[in-house]
């Protein structure tokens, strides 16, 4: 028993000795094979890393184009405003980890120094999350209790000849409200908001005399893993006097774009694997051609097909594993570059990337070895050993 084990160990040691010496003597070919597999594995690692982060990151990116959920008074009942408490209850129904941002909106016409304008009462912290694409000159209002400042749309600011830091008188004849506010920020939105003036919701309520009612709320909800239609239905059921609906154009586009990007990544991965396979195959065919006589000799002195196959597959496997290991490191670094370039943030390492890179890369390497191994097995020693 001990003797058998010793004999096995020695056989294994000889197998490994042949293996590594054979690899060592063909450094250039080994490097080309290693490099091909490394490139393939690194791209798969990068794509897989981004793939698993993309849902969250793309959702965040796409939500930058605006809110994707509306809550407001029931249009069928002809109501134009709703209690802000009801809006707050509706917003509270969204799981906190799925709510990217939300703000109620309260509108009314006010008189400024040089003319009339639409005033919007908002929750600035929510608005900032809903509208990250706004280009703001000056600063955002960041607290609820700031009742001395306003933000103003760029077009309106130009019309009213206002700059950041200027005072502006806000008047409402119906309520007799009049107050001088300071322009804290001028926002360029590219939309209707460019012609509006924004103040905190509580201040807007006093200016407009809305008595705690708002016109509607806009929400940004993470669509990944959220049954957004079910959420809207539950809101409607619990608050029959209100409309709650996803803004389909955005939320559906989000899902479709994600699907298309994921599909594109899968196609790129397949193309890269195919190119890697062809490159490795070509190199291994050259290696077999160079080793024809050596293989013929091995067969002549007693190596059977199984031993020739084992030798070549083991060589390919060793190069493949080394290539995948290097590819994982390089690919994760590449993922960081992509993450920062596209999403402006790092890509997290996920364990699932490991088998996703290892399995297809090794399978591609072994597939690439299939034809060269077949060629090696087909070598006729009597023929090749006689050739000069």
């Amino acid at each position: 028993m001990a003797e058998d084990r010793r004999a096995d160990t020695t056989q294994t040691a000889m197998f490994l000795r042949i293996l590594f010496k054979s690899l060592k003597v063909r450094k250039n070919r080994v490097f080309i094979t290693f490099f091909s597999i490394m490139i393939g594995a690194s791209i798969i690692t990068a794509l897989a890393s981004v793939y698993f982060d993309i849902s969250a990151k793309m959702s965040r990116e796409l939500r930058a184009y605006g809110a994707n959920f509306f809550v407001g008074p029931s249009a069928s009942r002809g109501e134009r405003s709703v209690e802000s408490d009801a809006i707050a209850r509706a917003i509270a129904m969204v799981p906190t980890d799925k709510l990217a941002g939300a703000s109620p909106y309260s509108y009314g016409v006010v008189r400024l120094d040089l003319g009339n304008a639409v005033l919007a009462g908002v929750d600035f912290r929510g608005l900032k999350k809903l509208s990250p694409y706004w280009q703001v000159e000056g600063k955002w209002i960041t607290v609820d209790f700031d009742e001395d400042s306003c933000m103003i749309g760029k077009t309106l600011a130009k019309k009213m000849e206002l700059k950041v830091g200027d005072p502006v008188n806000v008047m409402r004849s119906e309520t007799g409200f009049q107050k001088a506010l300071t322009v804290k920020g001028i926002a360029e939105t590219g939309q209707a908001e460019d012609e509006q003036i924004f103040v905190n919701l509580a201040l807007a309520d006093r200016i407009l005399g809305n008595n705690g009612r708002v016109n509607h709320a806009m929400l940004s909800i993470v669509t990944e893993g959220t049954d957004i239609d079910g959420l809207a239905a539950r809101m409607q059921q619990e608050m029959p006097g209100m409309d709650a609906k996803p803004i389909r154009k955005l939320s559906y586009s989000e899902g479709k774009i994600l699907d298309k990007i994921k599909g594109l990544m899968a196609i790129i991965a397949v193309i890269i694997l195919t190119v890697t396979t062809l490159c490795v195959m070509t190199t291994l065919i050259t290696v077999v051609s160079e080793r024809t006589r050596e293989i013929g000799l091995m067969k002549a002195i007693g190596a059977d097909d199984r031993e020739i196959v084992a030798q070549f597959l083991a060589e390919t496997l060793i190069i493949g594993l080394a290539g995948v290991a290097a590819g994982l490191v390089a690919g994760f670094a590449l993922a960081q570059v992509l993450g920062h370039a596209v999403f402006g943030s790092a890509i997290a390492f996920r364990m699932i990337v490991l088998p996703m890179t290892l399995v297809p890369s090794i399978l591609a390497s072994l597939l690439a070895a299939a034809l060269p191994v077949r060629m090696a097995v087909g070598i006729v020693p009597a023929k090749v050993l006689k050739e000069d």
Binding site: A7, T10, M14, V25, A300, I301, G302, E307, A382
Partner: protein, 219 residues
């Protein structure tokens, strides 16, 4: 009378309409040294390929050390080569990245189990005990051929088949290799040697001459 190690009956090889070896009947006894001679194209190489089980005959029988080999599969022929035949080539054919010792051990590896001490002894037996760690490229032609002989002997084969073993050697090395063959013969090894070299053949017990694929002389 020594036992018959190798016997052929009507051994024939055909490639289409060409018959390079035609109905060869031959017996080789244990410990016998037989030289196969003949001009180019006489069928020597074909005969060697058949006797070494590197090729299968088209017709006839070939019994090697009690095993009828003519109808064996390629896998079975590999086993016969591994177990019963020691091959020596004109061009030496050593694995270039393995040392002299490892080249000998390679035959052990495919045969059964590695024993580096036995491999070292085999190399010492051919006068290369001091060169075991050298690569083929660091050895002279004569030394490479001696490694090849050590490799052929290591598994104690039933026969040693040598194809022009001195064909690529200078006179001095030819002498060394010839002495080795004489020694092997004295040890009682069965040797079949394909050669053009009458000086080498003169030491054999028998010379078989081939011409156009037929035995024209056997004595």
């Amino acid at each position: 009378m020594a036992k018959i190690v190798l016997e052929t009956k009507g051994l024939t090889k055909r490639y289409g309409s060409v018959t390079p070896l035609d109905s060869i009947d031959m017996q080789v006894h244990e410990g016998e040294w037989v030289s196969i001679m003949g001009p180019s194209g006489s069928g020597k190489t074909t005969m060697l390929n058949l006797l070494s089980c590197l090729d299968a005959p088209s017709e006839g029988e070939y019994i090697l050390d009690g095993v009828a080999t003519a109808t064996l599969t390629e896998k079975q022929r590999v086993a016969v080569r591994r177990e019963k035949i020691g091959l020596i080539f004109q061009q030496f054919h050593l694995v270039p990245y393995l040392s002299a010792l490892e080249n000998v051990m390679l035959a052990q590896y495919y045969h059964s189990m590695i024993d580096s001490k036995d491999a070292e002894q085999a190399l010492a037996h051919v006068g290369l005990g001091h060169r075991i760690g050298h690569l083929p490229s660091q050895l002279s032609g004569g030394e490479q051929q001696r490694v090849c002989i050590a490799r052929a002997l290591i598994n104690q084969p039933a026969i040693i088949l040598a194809d022009e073993p001195t064909g690529n050697l200078d006179e001095a090395n030819e002498e060394v290799v010839l002495d080795l063959f004489k020694g092997l013969h004295r040890e009682g090894r069965t040797i079949i040697l394909v050669t053009h070299n009458p000086e080498l053949a003169q030491y054999s017990d028998r010379v078989v001459r081939l011409h156009h694929g037929k035995v024209v002389h056997d004595a």
